[in-house]
């Protein structure tokens, strides 16, 4: 296949693949062909890496391939070419889990690390299983790297970086658990992504013993690779967003707005519930006090007091659950839609650049039969971006639907459980209240 050092050849390959597929695929799906071919190319180039010695490659989407020196087999090659967009897990070959938070106390600082366990049959991984420890700032680093190296894709959000000291205890069990869940979700979302999961930085994050060493090296890499990636600079103004992307933008705006409202309502409910709890905690014991004055009524009154106590406990569990499980996921999605909006803007930039350059060529009036190479490059960049974004958007919509379905069902469940606990408490006290006491 020759040397892929030049982007042009990669282009050619992509066009060939597109052409091949278009022969067999009906008209209406040809929009997807871009995406499919792009994916195929991605995979093919990875396979290529296994056969050829390591070389720096610049791909149209700006990514860098994972370097590996293990020999390839034909079956693994086939594996690689398999298009797997499905999230069922039937063809899943990568599993990542975040667990086991541990506190580290050093002279300069105290922090938490989490264990990242990776199981994979992918050839990008030397070993079938990995276990490393990472802290939040490592995740932050990974996310930044993904944003830089995959600017055309939607990168999942991280839980909030900063916590107000004094208000939230960064080392409390609840906070750490909430964060762990969010970090786990973050990695799982990347794992499920057909392009992001093959990102080199992601691989290193999952496998490297010493991530810090790699981080330092990464800075140098950036300057070389940076060009095509960082090329998406400002300075170009887009005249109008294409309809479909405008629709996405509008959707995201409204979506974020509604989520914000839901977040505020949820917080308000928790606040009211906590105030209700405070009153309940005073209410129950009064029945207890009363029972000390009485003879025959002592047991019934004490029973009511205990009952109210049980309901109070159930309510506290409900508010804790909502705070730990419900609110963070909402906030995550708000962050998600924010980062998506910036990707949309970057896309606009790419389109603006292309249109500007095209216009410039038209104005020069040189009778060139062909469009100059750099303008073609811009066009490709734009089309790839559009394809990636649309694919990611669709994936995001599906995931969002499932995530919210689960989230809201969970909220309903917690409330049901709360009422069931209270119901049980009150039902169990009825026989006690109805009991005829022996004459004293």
């Amino acid at each position: 296949m020759g040397d892929y050092a030049s982007a042009q050849s990669a282009e050619v390959l992509q066009k060939n693949i597109s052409g091949l597929l278009c022969v067999f695929v009906p008209q209406q799906l040809q929009g997807d062909i871009q995406r499919l071919s792009h994916l195929l190319l991605d995979r093919a180039l990875f396979c290529y890496q296994m056969l050829k010695p390591k070389k720096d490659l610049i791909l149209p989407n700006g990514g860098t391939p994972a370097g590996t020196s293990s020999p390839a087999s034909s079956s693994s090659l086939l594996n690689r070419l398999q298009l797997d967009d499905d999230i069922d897990g039937e063809t899943r070959d990568l599993f990542v889990t975040v667990d086991d938070p541990k506190k580290h106390v050093c002279t300069m600082e105290t922090y938490i690390t989490y264990r990242i366990t990776t199981k994979s049959t992918r050839v990008e991984f030397d070993l079938p299983e990995y276990s490393v420890r990472r802290r939040y700032q490592d995740f932050d680093w990974l996310r930044n790297k993904l944003e830089e190296s995959q600017p055309t894709h939607l990168i999942p959000p991280l839980p909030e970086k900063f916590v107000v000291k004094g208000v939230v205890d960064r080392f409390s069990e609840e906070f750490v658990e909430t964060r762990r869940k969010a970090l786990d979700k973050f990695l799982k979302r990347i794992t499920d992504h057909p392009v992001l999961s093959f990102n080199e930085h992601f691989n290193v994050f999952l496998t490297a013993k010493d991530l810090n060493a790699y981080k330092k090296q990464g800075i140098a890499l950036l300057t070389r690779v940076g060009e095509s990636v960082k090329h998406v600079t400002g300075g170009y103004k887009l005249r109008s967003r294409p309809l479909e992307f405008a629709a996405i933008g509008d959707y995201l705006d409204t979506f974020a707005l509604k989520l914000g409202t839901i977040d505020r309502i949820a917080q308000r409910i928790i606040k009211e519930e906590i105030e209700y709890l405070v009153e309940l905690r005073e209410y129950g014991p009064v029945y207890s006090t009363w029972s000390t004055l009485e003879g025959e009524l002592a047991e019934p009154l004490e029973g009511v007091s205990a009952c109210i106590g049980n309901c109070s406990t159930a309510l506290e569990e409900l508010t804790d659950d909502m705070t730990e499980d419900f609110l963070p996921v909402l906030r995550e999605y708000i962050l998600y839609s924010d980062s998506m909006k910036s990707v949309l803007k970057k896309r606009d930039q790419v389109q603006a650049e292309y249109e500007a350059k095209l216009e410039a060529v038209a104005l020069r009036k040189e009778d060139r039969p062909k469009v100059p190479a750099d303008v073609e490059k811009c066009q490709d960049r734009m089309e790839c971006f559009n394809a990636d974004l649309k694919a990611d958007m669709e994936r995001w919509q599906n995931n969002k639907r499932q995530d919210f379905r689960q989230l809201l069902m969970g909220m309903a469940d917690k409330n049901i459980q709360y009422y069931e606990k209270c119901l049980m408490a009150w039902e169990s006290i009825i026989p006690l209240l109805q009991e005829k006491q022996e004459a004293k």
Binding site: T261, E282, P300, R405
Partner: protein
């Protein structure tokens, strides 16, 4: 017992009509009574039956309100609850073995006009001991019946604990109201959100409807709970009636002790005059010392007067003693009856409260299960 004149037609009270069914013959009369007439009836009963724990009236003004409930005495809900309270008051009297036979009570139910005059003609206000009403009356009783002392203590404690309970319950109701109502906001935002969604839209929309149902369900729930609060209030006021009986005993005991003391001192005076020894100080004694002895005739006269007084005193003491013992006997019988009634009633109240809570929980489970189903269809 249904009729009621519109508010504002007769301030400050509102009128009630009364139907009376006698045990023997069915007498269905219907007449109008103001709250103040109920008060008059009760005051009369307090005076004529001091040994009875007289049923209390419902509150004149709304107390222990939580914010949604209007503290306005003309509020229809309050007026209705007070009507029920007054009905309950009459039923309590009608079911009391002693009170139900009272003529004035009977007339209250049957005599349309001039009932007030009839009551006042009994002159009960004159009989009333103003000392009973005086809250700060302090008189030291040397030998009160221990049971009454304990009972008085109990009634004070009961009053205190039920007030506390009612206050906190009102705050609990307030907070619970807040929790439910905020959920109504979900209804609106889910509806708005569903507008931009394709597959998720229907599920969100219908779930939002259930949130609205949930939010509005609290009104009925808290309305029901007010009946429980009213049952507690009745016993809060009953505690006062209990204390009144204890006070009456104290007063009688005090009068008894004073009379006994007076008698003892008179006896002593008499003795001194008769024997000529002066042990007790008296002005007469001093003046005779200073200004000369009195004549034997004078002394005889005085002794005779004292002896008469002593006789009278002894009679009075005897009858007071009898009265006192009778009072204690009758009062204690009614107190036992009251205790049984209280235990029964409060048990019932607690059971109905538990039933209310169970109903509230079941409603909650229903609504959230419905919402969950809607979410599952998203």
């Amino acid at each position: 017992m249904r009729k009621r004149r519109g508010p504002g037609q007769r301030a400050p009270g509102s009128t009630r009509s009364v139907e009376h069914t006698d045990g023997q013959s069915v007498l269905t009369d219907s007449l109008w009574r103001r709250y103040s007439e109920f008060e008059l009836l009760r005051n009369y009963l307090l005076v004529y039956y001091p040994h009875i724990v007289v049923p209390p009236l419902p509150e004149k003004r709304a107390e222990f309100v939580w914010h949604k409930l209007s503290a306005d005495n003309m509020d229809p809900d309050f007026v209705e609850r007070r009507r029920i309270g007054l009905e309950n008051f009459l039923l309590r009297i009608a079911s009391h073995p002693t009170l139900c036979r009272d003529k004035i009570f009977y007339l209250f139910l049957t005599q349309e006009g001039n009932w007030k005059e009839t009551v006042n003609e009994t002159g009960f206000q004159l009989k009333a001991d103003s000392r009973l009403k005086a809250l700060n009356a302090t008189f030291r009783v040397k030998n009160p019946d221990k049971r009454f002392t304990e009972l008085k203590h109990y009634s004070d404690e009961l009053q205190s604990v039920i007030s506390h309970l009612l206050r906190v319950r009102a705050r609990v109701a307030d907070r619970l109201y807040g929790v439910y109502k905020v959920h109504g906001n979900y209804g609106r935002v889910f509806s708005e959100w569903s507008a931009i969604e394709k597959e998720m839209g229907d599920g969100l929309q219908s779930a939002g409807h259930h949130m609205d149902v949930y939010a509005s369900s609290i009104d009925d729930i808290l309305e029901d709970e007010e009946h429980y609060a009213d049952q507690l209030k009745e016993y809060l006021f009953y505690a006062e009636a209990l204390r009144a009986v204890c006070r009456k005993h104290e007063l009688m005991q005090y009068d008894l002790e004073m009379a006994a003391q007076d008698l003892a001192s008179k006896k002593q005076q008499c003795e001194e005059l008769a024997t000529g020894t002066v042990r007790t100080f008296s002005l007469k004694g001093m003046t005779t010392k200073l200004f000369g002895q009195e004549t034997p005739e004078q002394r005889e006269a005085r002794i005779k007067v004292l002896e008469e007084q002593i006789n009278e005193g002894e009679q009075q003491l005897k009858s007071k003693n009898l009265e006192g013992r009778e009072f204690v006997r009758n009062a204690w019988a009614d107190i036992e009856r009251f205790k049984e009634q209280k235990n029964r009633d409060l048990k019932e109240a607690l059971i109905s409260y538990a039933v209310m809570q169970i109903s509230m929980c079941k409603k909650g489970i229903q609504v959230w299960t419905n919402a969950k189903e809607c979410f599952s269809k998203m």
